[in-house]
């Protein structure tokens, strides 16, 4: 039985002739896409968890400092915000990422004991904390990884806190977090009289206004009343808080470098391949292959590398996320879930990387004169 030669089969043979080089190139693009899937997937999941947390807590608006040089705002503004007719409740709060042990770090929130945000949590054991006391609530995921239960002591930044209860929250950010009284957090964080933000819950939606219009109107009113503050809708705040912004920046920066290395790897492989096959390209041109056929062949090879690297990278990135979501150091902020859209985006980036990397070698190959290429030694 004679084998049928297809265009893609021909491209595959060309890639397979230099197996080691092809595999090393695949490793490069796999790492690039793996980094993209894991890091960007993580940062998006992180943002999504913030949004879920805001939604489940009933937060409509976050009031924060408008000065970029400062991330804190005076706690005394709480009374002014409460006085706005559309505001139902105001919860001043602080959050920070703190090392609890050398191996475990967690998001630590400072809330008032009467904060409406506590209402969205389910106390699994023990009780809530009291303001003014060195007490904390632990998320169930964190309590499990620390091996702590109500009554146990957890040292945080040099102060011993008593665990008063274990709670369950709907998001990884809550399940892996510590919540302590706002005044205690202000002491350990050196932020007396200051808070990170005010989480504002609005009264029920007035008739004749959409939720979006309502939030924007109240936000504008708050900003006009508080000249040095910014009132940000919750969804926007989820995307723009300092930790999410940092996660996005690190994820995109690191992924871009890893992807660039992968693209350069494919470009190098394809350039070497075209160079080595100069005479073969001359043979193909002598047989009537047009320049565009040569371009198509080289781009098919480069795209196949990108596609295969993309699939492998998705596997690697997903595996890395799953691993990170189980480690005590990262479980509180990493979710193992990756959206199908992110996977599709990763695959498209991988294919585009192949096309980009193959473009110049393909163009060079197509420009070879048949007779010059045949003479090439």
């Amino acid at each position: 039985m004679a084998s049928q030669l297809s265009f893609t089969g021909f491209a595959w043979r060309n890639l397979w002739r230099r197996r080691l080089r092809t595999l090393l190139t695949l490793v490069g693009i796999t790492m690039g896409i793996g980094a993209f899937v894991a890091l960007v997937g993580f940062s998006r999941a992180f943002e999504h968890e913030w949004l879920r947390m805001y939604t489940s807590s009933g937060i409509d608006i976050a009031v924060v400092q408008s000065n970029l040089l400062s991330s804190s705002i005076d706690e005394s503004l709480s009374a002014k915000i409460s006085a706005v007719p559309d505001v139902a409740e105001v919860a001043p709060m602080i959050f920070n990422l703190i090392d609890l042990t050398p191996e475990v770090n967690a998001l630590v929130y400072g809330w008032r004991a009467n904060s409406y945000e506590l209402d969205s949590l389910t106390i699994l054991s023990g009780r809530r904390f009291h303001d003014g006391a060195p007490e904390i609530l632990l998320g169930d995921l964190l309590a499990s990884s620390l091996g702590k239960k109500p009554g146990d002591i957890v040292p945080i930044l040099g102060t011993n806190f008593t665990v008063t209860g274990i709670y369950h929250g709907g998001t990884a950010l809550e399940a892996g977090a510590v919540i302590m009284p706002l005044d205690q957090m202000q002491i350990v964080a050196g932020m007396e009289g200051k808070v990170t933000a005010f989480h504002v819950k609005l009264r029920p939606l007035p008739a004749g206004e959409t939720q979006d219009e309502y939030v924007k109107r109240v936000s504008a009113a708050l900003e006009s009343m508080l000249p040095n503050a910014r009132a940000v809708p919750a969804a926007e705040r989820a995307a723009n808080n300092q930790l999410v912004g940092l996660a996005h920046s690190v994820a995109w920066g690191t992924s871009a470098i890893a992807l660039l290395i992968g693209i350069l790897g494919i470009a190098n492989t394809m350039a070497m391949s075209v160079f080595e096959r100069t005479r073969e390209i001359g043979i193909l041109r002598a047989l009537g292959w047009k320049g565009r056929h040569v371009i198509l062949l080289v781009l098919t090879e480069a795209t196949a590398l990108g596609f295969a690297g993309g699939l492998l990278g998705i596997g690697v990135g997903w595996g890395a996320l799953r691993l990170l979501s189980t480690l005590p150091q990262t479980a509180s902020i990493v979710s193992a879930s990756v959206s199908p859209l992110h996977l599709l985006e990763s695959l498209l980036i991988a294919i585009a990387s192949g096309l980009l990397a193959g473009a110049y070698p393909a163009w060079r190959g197509a420009r070879l004169s048949p007779v010059e290429a045949l003479r090439y030694e």
Binding site: A2, S3, Q4, E280, R285, A286, L287, G288, H293, V371
Partner: protein
């Protein structure tokens, strides 16, 4: 031997070809290199009729291969024109299409692709003309059978003898049913037995298909066996 892939096959040469009418004509061909410092051809005029068997001979560096490359559309002339059935190559006739459909090349060094089996090497010529995959494979098998290579179809070039490789190259040259066969020293890498066999195959192909065949050679025996013999020296036709 009957030919399953004859001149009347679906992808044979386009347009009428009647013996005696010019199929190729070169007028005032000049080919120079190094900004005119080296002239490989110095004003060559030649007319080749449809169905002719022409041998071109001459010493090394005389310009015989350069002339073949220009006639086959592999290269372009510095001055002068080549006409295929009265239409100028590179202007009225697209060079890539001309090479894929109207001419078949046979080279001294065979130029088979090392990663492809014999039958795939024949098919690769047909990838440029958008034949269906099963048609390409059937045609390649038929041509290799015609070359007596039915048992060697799935061998790679490095598993074939020199004579077998050249027979694969001939099958490849015939893949798209060309009107003209151009052979550049087709026996240059072969021993005398294989040389005779290859020339016998080429003669058979020409007679059965009525193809035009131009053979560049430095072997007198091959040159004299052709009905028409063009001698070239220092870039000019001597006789």
């Amino acid at each position: 031997m009957s030919s399953p892939i004859g001149a009347g096959s679906p992808i044979s040469a386009r347009g009428p070809i009647s013996a005696g009418s010019p199929i190729l004509e070169a007028r005032g061909l000049v080919k120079s290199y190094d900004e005119g410092r080296v002239e490989a051809l110095r004003g060559v005029d030649v007319r080749i009729d449809a169905g002719e068997y022409v041998a071109i001979s001459g010493p090394s560096g005389s310009g015989k291969s350069t002339l073949l490359h220009l006639l086959g559309g592999l290269d372009t002339a510095s001055e002068g024109q080549v006409f295929y059935k009265g239409s100028e190559l590179g202007k009225a006739v697209d060079l890539d299409s001309y090479r894929s459909r109207q001419v078949g090349f046979i080279f001294q060094a065979f130029y088979l692709l090392p990663t492809l089996r014999a039958v795939e090497n024949v098919q690769v010529a047909m990838l440029a003309v958008h034949e269906k995959a099963n048609h390409r494979a059937e045609r390649a098998v038929a041509l290799l059978e015609e070359m007596g290579l039915e048992a060697r179809m799935n061998h790679f070039p490095n598993q074939l003898s020199a004579g077998e490789r050249q027979r694969v190259a001939i099958a490849r040259a015939l893949a798209n049913g060309p009107a003209i066969l151009l052979a550049d020293e087709p026996t240059g890498n072969l021993d005398s037995v294989n040389s005779a066999h290859i020339m016998e195959i080429l003669r058979g192909i020409r007679e059965q298909r009525g193809m035009t065949m131009i053979v560049v050679t430095h072997e007198n025996e091959i040159a004299h066996a052709a009905p028409r013999h063009i001698r070239i020296r220092d870039g000019k036709i001597e006789s």
